[in-house]
């Protein structure tokens, strides 16, 4: 043993001395190895942290640990992506009560939340429509109470507001006519505008308000382009179970959907992003850019664009201004801008020209002085939102839902991914998706009986409508089969949908009935694969076609992000180490060839081949260990530093990946071990070929004369 240690001692001594003797080689090889180790430590630590953060984001916001859906579905479930209507064909699971019972029979399952995910385009009310509607209502009321002075004042003010809107729109059409080719603007639009702006039109208004209102509603309102399409993705769920299972959920404005009520909750992000007045949104975004991210408008492409667009948004404010507000704005803006200009539009145009110097003051002025008189959101909390969605079979179903408030997930307030999903009750979701509740079916059959509509199969629909001459009688109700095979008429559809907004529902409708998918939360998230297998087995046992997927899969591409990044990282590391392997190998082969005489001498005086082999492998291992440790330590130091400082999320997308505004990477011993292991293996492998060459060096080499 002592002999072995002594031999090892001399091997080590020769090896180390050799390393020092050829410093350049050692440094190059060591540098590569050190860099590789550094990269592995840093990369794996960052990825692990992102993985953890993302799992928090995804599990905590909507996916849960496991998602369950029907194994008969054509597509894979994707709770985060899938921004088109027909992306995910998910077969419904007919009875949630049974599904829940089966799921809860699996030991690791703690909570089950019923879900359905879909998206719809929603037309938010346009200012013109709303102003006209208010005026019509006042006119109606006035009819009933002609002498009410308050109503007369309201009438005058609202009429003024409409007239203001018309003049704004007319100005727009005029501007467009000047800007574009004359022919681009329909001649009819111009004449319509002319008529509505004419003094006579308004002089005659009082005489026949309904006639004039109709003209405005039908001809002028469509010319206003401020009506916005909101694209809303929503999850229909049991609001109470959802809030209990996803504890990162917080109500920001308003209140949660009350138990047993139909309703809609905006995600705060969507609400701000889509429903807020563009001007206000621009102020918010620039403020965020300047204060939170420390940028300047000038030089930042994004902020410059927002500021420029904001300068053209005076119109959307103008449309909101009735006569008193117009006066108010004129006075305030004149004072603020120290301007003698009397045209509010021009004052607003000037006010909205934002730059780094004036922004702070104007931002404060906007929110302090102007905003209180403005409707900041297109959809107000408490409003009823009409959602029109395509059902599975492709016809349009609509529901009127009260907007109870907005919500956000803690730490993910600014994440577009987490913020894209809005909430509604499961019962309304089912209707929008084309499933009938029992109540509704009863209602429909009653209506059908009354209207004389009959059930028509899809194949026969055409014959019923056009082909069959005998089908006379009152125009047959347009037949569109729903998913349960019942044809229902357009009449009954709208009828029932109107009712939806106010109707409550029985509690058992949430605990049973059709769902598309369910989020499962588990006690121990380290046992996901086992739990997934157990869920599918339980489904088979109970005759339910259950498919269970992990949150990573359920989140689609986003969930695979960490896996993807890992593949990219390890490919990069692999390439670096293959290159390192080649370089190290070459350097060692060259070094070996330089040492042929020394190696031959060692062999001649009695060193066995394995002595030579161990000497060279030891050299490589020492280089690998020393520089690997150095690189690892450097990587670890950087990770610790970043873990202390946090890596700021560069934009909103990173907020999601970081599960908050900053990522705090943590160091794990496992990553250090992996890094050291890899460099050690690489350095040993890279010494094999040179060591092989060295082993083959004949002791005769020692006898050759020097030349």
């Amino acid at each position: 043993m002592a002999g072995f240690l002594d031999t090892f001692g001399v091997v080590a001594q020769i090896a180390l001395r050799n390393l020092f003797a050829s410093r350049w080689k050692t440094l190059i090889v060591g540098g590569i190895i050190g860099f590789g180790a550094f990269l592995v430590v840093l990369g794996t630590s960052l990825l692990d942290s992102v993985d953890r953060a993302m799992s928090r984001s995804i599990i905590g916001s909507i996916a849960g640990n496991i998602q369950v859906y029907s194994s008969e579905s054509k597509d894979d479930l994707d709770v985060m992506g899938g921004f088109s209507f027909d992306a995910n064909q998910i077969e419904p699971l007919q009875d949630f009560a049974r599904v829940k019972r089966t799921l809860l029979s699996v030991p690791n399952v703690s909570k089950v939340v019923p879900m359905g995910i879909n998206g719809a385009l929603v037309l938010s009310g346009n200012t013109v429509d709303q102003a006209l509607a208010r005026l019509r209502e006042t006119v109606n009321k006035q009819k009933a109470a002609p002498n009410d002075s308050a109503l007369a004042d309201a009438y005058a003010s609202e009429k003024d507001h409409v007239r203001q809107i018309v003049s704004v729109l007319s100005g727009d059409v005029e501007k467009a006519r000047k800007l574009h080719d004359e022919k681009a603007i329909a001649a009819e639009d111009i004449s319509v505008m002319k008529r509505a702006s004419a003094a006579e039109f308004w002089a005659d208004f009082d005489a026949d308000p309904f006639d004039h209102l109709e003209f405005l509603e039908n001809r002028i309102a469509p010319l206003a382009t401020d009506a916005d399409m909101l694209f809303l993705r929503y999850v229909g769920t049991d609001p109470k179970a959802f809030a209990q299972s996803f504890d990162r959920l917080t109500i920001v404005d308003g209140q949660a959907i009350p138990e047993g009520k139909r309703g809609f909750l905006f995600s705060k992000y969507t609400y701000e992003e889509q429903a807020k007045l563009r001007t206000a949104r621009a102020f918010d975004k620039i403020h965020d850019g300047l204060k939170v991210r420390g940028k300047k408008i000038k030089g930042d492409a994004d902020l410059e664009r927002i500021a420029r667009e904001c300068g053209n948004q005076a119109k959307e404010l103008m449309l909101q201004l009735d006569a008193p507000k117009t006066r108010l704005f004129r006075d305030k803006l004149q004072a603020y801008l120290k301007s003698g200009e009397s045209d509010v539009r021009k004052l607003l145009d000037q006010f909205l020209r934002l730059n780094d110097e004036n922004f702070d003051s104007r931002h404060a002025f906007f929110y302090r002085e102007l905003a209180p008189s403005l409707e900041l959101y297109r959809v107000r909390i408490g409003d009823t939102l009409t959602i029109k969605a395509f059902t599975r079979s492709g016809y349009v179903q609509s529901a009127n839902l009260k907007v109870y408030g907005t919500f956000a997930f803690k730490g993910l307030e600014k994440s577009p991914q987490a913020g894209a999903m809005n909430l509604m009750d499961l019962v309304s979701f089912r209707e929008l998706y084309g499933f009938m509740t029992e109540d509704k079916q009863r209602e429909i059959s009653a209506m059908r009986a009354k209207s004389g509509a009959k059930e028509v199969k899809r194949e026969d629909a055409e014959a019923e409508l056009f082909g069959n001459a005998e089908a006379s009688a009152p125009a047959p109700a347009a037949a569109a089969p729903d998913d349960l095979g019942t044809a229902l008429s357009g009449l009954s559809r709208t009828g029932s949908a109107r009712a939806a907004s106010t109707a409550a529902y029985a509690a058992d409708q949430l605990t049973s009935g059709v769902i598309l998918n369910a989020a499962v939360l588990v006690h121990d998230d380290k046992k996901l694969p086992e739990t997934i297998a157990a869920i599918e087995a339980a489904g088979k046992r109970d005759g339910l076609p259950l498919k269970a997927i992990s949150w990573q899969k359920a989140a689609g591409l986003i969930g695979q992000f960490a896996v993807l990044m890992r593949v990219v990282l390890f490919t990069a590391v692999l390439i670096i180490f293959v290159v390192a392997l080649v370089i190290i190998n070459n350097a060692l082969v060259m070094a070996t060839l330089e040492r042929v005489r020394e190696l031959g001498t060692l062999r001649a005086i009695g060193a066995q081949r394995r002595f030579i082999l161990s000497m060279l492998v030891l050299e490589s291992m020492v280089v690998g260990l020393v520089f690997g440790a150095l690189g690892t330590a450097l990587g670890a130091a950087l990770v610790l530093f970043l873990g202390h400082q946090g890596i700021p999320a560069a934009n909103d997308v990173f907020m999601f990946f970081f599960s908050g505004p900053r990522l705090y990477p943590a160091l794990s011993g496992q990553n250090l071990g992996i890094a050291l292991g890899i460099v050690l293996i690489v350095s040993v492998i890279s010494s094999f070929y040179p060591a092989f060459i060295a082993m083959r060096v004949s002791p005769r080499e020692a006898m050759q004369s020097e030349d």
């Binding site: 001399v10 020769i14 001649a604």
Partner: protein, 244 residues
């Protein structure tokens, strides 16, 4: 007493590309223990090749080479290495010291490879040898800090540290001035007396040959006519006239 080296009609062919070089063409020599054999001959006559066969660094193409009673052609690579380590000491023409090790370590190296002595015993033996070759002041020096003669003495010390039965030297005086060369020869004589080792030197230095107990002359890979057991009269004459 049996010969320590017994060579029977040994040939050695080398392949240099497509050309086969017949480096040795049938040589027979017996060397008794304690003898000092000098192998003489011009460059390319096969001196070094003969030395590699005796030194168990190579094996003959035909014929037999027996070293310490063992037929080298029948030994494995490992056994040959082991034979070299334990039986033979090498002194190379260009010394071949390990540049990264100091004098002490260079001399100790064969003992470390043998793994038979304790550190204390090794140290004692190395130092006593270094004292005898007069390098006590240079124990911790690296080879590149030494003169040619000093290096040669380190090489000799390394060759003798295992107390080998057979010491081989390839042109040991070729790279040395005449005074140092003479010192080397004196040292050999002294060691021969004390250790009873057998010495085989390849050389064309007449002075070396003058000390030899047996001289073989090689020419074209064969023994030249007339094997002498000791320096010839004319050679002695040459030596004395060279000295004069």
């Amino acid at each position: 007493m049996k010969a320590i080296v017994s060579i029977e009609n040994a040939t050695k062919d080398y392949r240099l590309g497509k050309v086969v070089v017949n480096a040795l063409r049938g040589v027979s020599i017996d060397v008794a223990r304690g003898e000092f054999l000098s192998i003489a001959g011009p460059s390319g006559s096969g001196k070094t090749t003969l030395l590699t066969l005796i030194g168990c660094v190579d094996t003959p193409t035909t014929g037999t080479v027996e070293v310490a009673g063992r037929d080298t052609a029948k030994l494995s690579e490992r056994e040959l290495t082991s034979l070299r380590l334990n039986t033979i000491g090498f002194i190379f023409q260009s010394f071949n010291l390990v540049g990264v090790l100091d004098v002490f370590r260079n001399v100790e190296l064969p003992l470390l490879l043998q793994r038979s002595l304790s550190a204390g015993e090794r140290s004692k033996r190395v130092l006593s040898l270094l004292e005898r070759v007069g390098l006590m002041e240079h124990v911790r020096h690296r080879p590149n800090e030494l003169s040619g003669g000093q290096r040669q003495r380190v090489a000799i010390a390394r060759a003798l540290v295992t107390r080998p039965e057979l010491v081989l030297a390839d042109e040991p005086t070729a790279n040395l001035d005449s005074v140092t060369g003479q010192n080397i020869l004196d040292l050999r004589k002294e060691l021969n007396r004390s250790e009873h080792s057998t010495f085989i030197f390849s050389t064309h230095d007449a002075r070396v040959m003058s000390h030899a107990s047996q001289i073989v002359r090689l020419a074209d890979g064969k023994l030249a006519e007339g094997i002498s057991t000791g320096p010839t009269v004319s050679e002695l004459h040459e030596v004395s006239s060279a000295k004069a």
